[in-house]
Symmetry: none
Subunit: 226 residues, 2 copies
DNA sequence: TTTAACTATGTTGTATGATGACATTGTACT
DNA sequence: AGTACAATGTCATCATACAACATAGTTAAA
């Protein structure tokens, strides 16, 4: 017995998936039979069915409500949910939209960092800024060091959502910088602005740091538009 | 017994995750104890442990080799790129972090909408608000209508990045609302606040709309913390 | 009558033990 | 030495029971 591919729970997940999206036996938002009935219908144990369901939940196909039942998701996972596209410049999102978002997020984040950063974190941020300036003089990888500087600030904001969102934004920024022609002037801007940001951040001057970061973003936007 | 939040299998997944990446009890590539031993060590049933492991497998943290054992992945996936975790409450990101982000995000967005919304879009937003209030009175799906209201505002901001980010944030909000106990008071807040937001938005009063949205977010935060 | 507490029922979540399937190692027989 | 086979350790699946949760209906108290 049990010829065929892979684990039974995976085959079951496949069968269940096809029952939902292909045969459309269970429309969006509808309730599945309870686990005992459904497992009998599909000729697998409840354990196996539960593993299959659990997988489809992680895929966003199903939704479990304890004590009520298991339901087909209202909207099957959208392309909108796939934020990898956010990091993709080719998705024809305007670069100005991206920096507009940074203009909202980064000043707010640095303000949070002013409130919450530990002394160690501030010291770490200072070191990153120093290193960025040094690499900038020596012709090293200053964009990388610059990003580390900004990421250190995000971390010091102590907001987990921000921390996770940043790499996405960042990789999109990278792609834009790749095709940008005036990288040299951007370097000068970054060095000067970072110094300004650091100045207020070390003093924990919330409003000052917020404005310094806003200025930095405006500088970047203006430079890119030339 | 069993106070505390959420499913035991999810708590177990969290504990196991922290044993791996934080305490580093099991280095990358190493083999975990077998399921019987490990489940005893962690004081959960083997069933529960298997569910936890199964989840971590989908996250790319663990790898199962049938007949051999369960192993820590060679390279832990770059968490930053996986924004699906942003929408996942099980990732144990604090709810306050989420709303802190909305407190930054939404007021800025409604301000943009004031500048850029077409008259048709404003009319659409007005209809959504009306419908939300109506459903709220009739005991319908007011949270859904409320989200449509907010999403209409995001769309009117004409920023593609924002538009794509919103569903992610939104689904995380949904999961939090599921486990929230004072949904009724939240309903009253939403109805009143939406009216306020709409008032300034229709007048294209940027500062007013921004503040109205800030108030709304503060209300939500306070209600959730009770 | 209204409202509060309780009960009944249906559902997912967890526990336990047994058995099957797979991979590796050891061992005996030729 | 080499091959077949047995033993062992592991994950995969099954079956059953009970716990925790959600809701609706019923009963009892105000």
């Amino acid at each position: 017995m049990n010829l065929r591919k892979g684990k039974l729970s995976e085959q079951t997940a496949d069968r269940l998936y096809s029952m939902i999206v292909e045969q459309m036996l269970y429309p969006a938002g509808s309730k599945l039979p309870n686990e005992n009935d459904l497992s009998r219908e599909m000729n697998v144990s409840r354990t196996t069915l539960r593993e299959a369901i659990s997988f489809l939940v992680t895929q966003g196909i199903l939704e479990i409500r304890r004590g009520k039942g298991t339901f087909v998701a209202k909207e099957l996972p959208d392309k909108g949910m796939d934020l990898s596209s956010l990091a993709d410049v080719r998705s024809r999102v305007r670069a100005s939209d991206l920096f507009e978002m940074r203009l909202i997020f980064e000043p707010a984040t640095v303000a949070l960092a002013c409130q919450r950063a530990t002394d160690e974190e501030l010291e770490n941020i200072r070191r990153k800024a120093e290193r960025m300036e040094q690499l900038s003089r020596e012709g090293g990888d200053w964009p990388g060091a610059d990003q580390e500087f900004h990421f250190a600030i995000i971390q010091a904001s102590h907001n987990e959502y921000m921390r996770r969102l940043y790499p996405i934004i960042n990789s999109a920024v990278n792609e834009i910088l790749q095709i940008s022609h005036n990288r040299k002037s951007m370097q000068d801007i970054a060095v000067a602005d970072n110094k300004l940001i650091l100045e207020f951040l070390l003093k924990r001057d919330e409003a000052g740091a917020r404005h310094a970061m806003s200025i930095h973003m405006k500088h970047l936007i203006n430079t890119l538009q030339e």
